[in-house]
Symmetry: C2
Subunit: 246 residues, 2 copies
């Protein structure tokens, strides 16, 4: 038995998300079917974590066990030949037999892409969230607010309800805010993220950018554990799973 | 009578191109129908030039005459409310009555976006042309080759056949080559471009990048006026009309 690790880029626009669901088109199921096509066996594909409908990935990681004799690095080429064009295996390699894309993960990098312009975008309409010019963002205030999130905190108030997770304490190593033309990219590194946490923090930084929240309130908002005090959950299509660290 | 100038961004993927054609979905026709919806009159929309099926625009310019009383800058908002999401009016303004998007144009900026990576791209599959890792591009050679195109030349050999144009002499002011991660962006400024000229020059620079053409051969290839000595015509989906100068 061999353990194959995949690094995956996908455009989440036309999928119900990573996780297999009944009567819906998932990324996990699509890749599993592709693996079955080239190995003859249906694998159990472990992703590093779920992504919601519309969320993109530049470096999702997954692994599966196989008895196939295909050289590990050839899996990427073989799978890309049968996968739809909105899912690409960037690389495939042989992993230790006990490697598990989810349980072995030590951290993740996500990014959220904003477009701050008067009019929406035609070309990047599924790739960036449009914030209209009326809300011209104050980048300095966003950077100041981002500092409040860095470190180890109980992020209970930055999680969508419905999640059954017990331990809501997470560590954010850093948040980088870059501006290029009308695009603003927020990049998050952390040891893990709660359900919708990146989208809610991004919404809170957006609120800082439009002056609805003060940068120096962030600690207090985190400590309140009150979801209603944080910003809105920004839409899925601006979110990217960039990297998984092991 | 008023003359309204539009600056237009579009994703060319789902259109037959700018120009209205029978039984096909054109960008020109789609915008004309939107103008008719908000003014009640079918306009004659002049574009700065045609773009082929799949070609994108960040700053296409067009103008039309109208008796509508809508303030010029409100046209962008009103049109975006009725246009499909892959066509966006970035700005609208009042132009001199004799302004004509095509005949008044003094120059244009185009760009061509390459992705030079082992595997294709899922997220940018309609926005960049994938050059596989097997053809790892030599950027220095591409920059050297690009110098050969700058200036005033008879670009007869860099035009697709079938064009009936008489004067094939054009001036390229500059060609900029930028690399970011696996993306390479070629930006062209000139007083005008022949049919497919940017896609053929980009194909020729690609050939320089893979060592199939020497940078110091460019003058000779231009002088030969022989289409077969230039590089291939790269696909439409990597090409962007960036700006039109007046």
């Amino acid at each position: 038995m061999r353990n194959i690790k995949l690094i995956i880029e996908y455009d989440g626009t036309n999928y119900c998300g990573w996780q297999t669901q009944k009567n819906a088109n998932s990324i996990q199921e699509t890749i599993q079917r592709a693996i079955e096509k080239i190995t003859g066996t249906t694998p159990n594909l472990n992703g590093s974590g779920r992504t919601d409908a519309g969320v993109h990935a530049l470096g999702q990681v997954a692994n599966f066990m196989t008895e196939s004799k295909i050289p590990a690095e050839r899996f990427a080429y073989a799978l890309n030949a049968v996968l739809p064009k909105d899912i690409i295996i960037k690389a495939s390699s042989e992993a230790d037999i006990d490697f598990h894309a989810r349980y072995s993960a030590k951290g993740k990098q996500y990014s959220y892409l904003l477009l701050n312009s008067k009019q929406p975008t035609a070309l990047y309409r599924t790739l960036a969230y449009h914030v209209s010019y009326g809300d011209k963002l104050d980048i300095n205030e966003m950077v100041a607010a981002s500092k409040g999130f860095v470190g180890t905190h109980d992020f209970y108030g930055f999680m969508s309800t419905g999640s059954s997770i017990k331990d809501t304490t997470k560590t954010i190593y850093d948040i980088k805010i870059e501006q290029k033309d009308d695009f603003i990219k927020l990049t998050y590194n952390g040891n893990g993220f709660l359900y919708n946490m990146v989208r809610i923090i991004s919404g809170t930084l957006l609120y800082a950018g439009i002056g609805r929240i003060d940068a120096n309130q962030i600690f207090e908002i985190i400590a309140s554990k009150d979801r209603t005090r944080a910003g809105i959950t920004l839409p899925a299509h601006g979110l990217y799973l960039e990297k998984v660290f092991y």
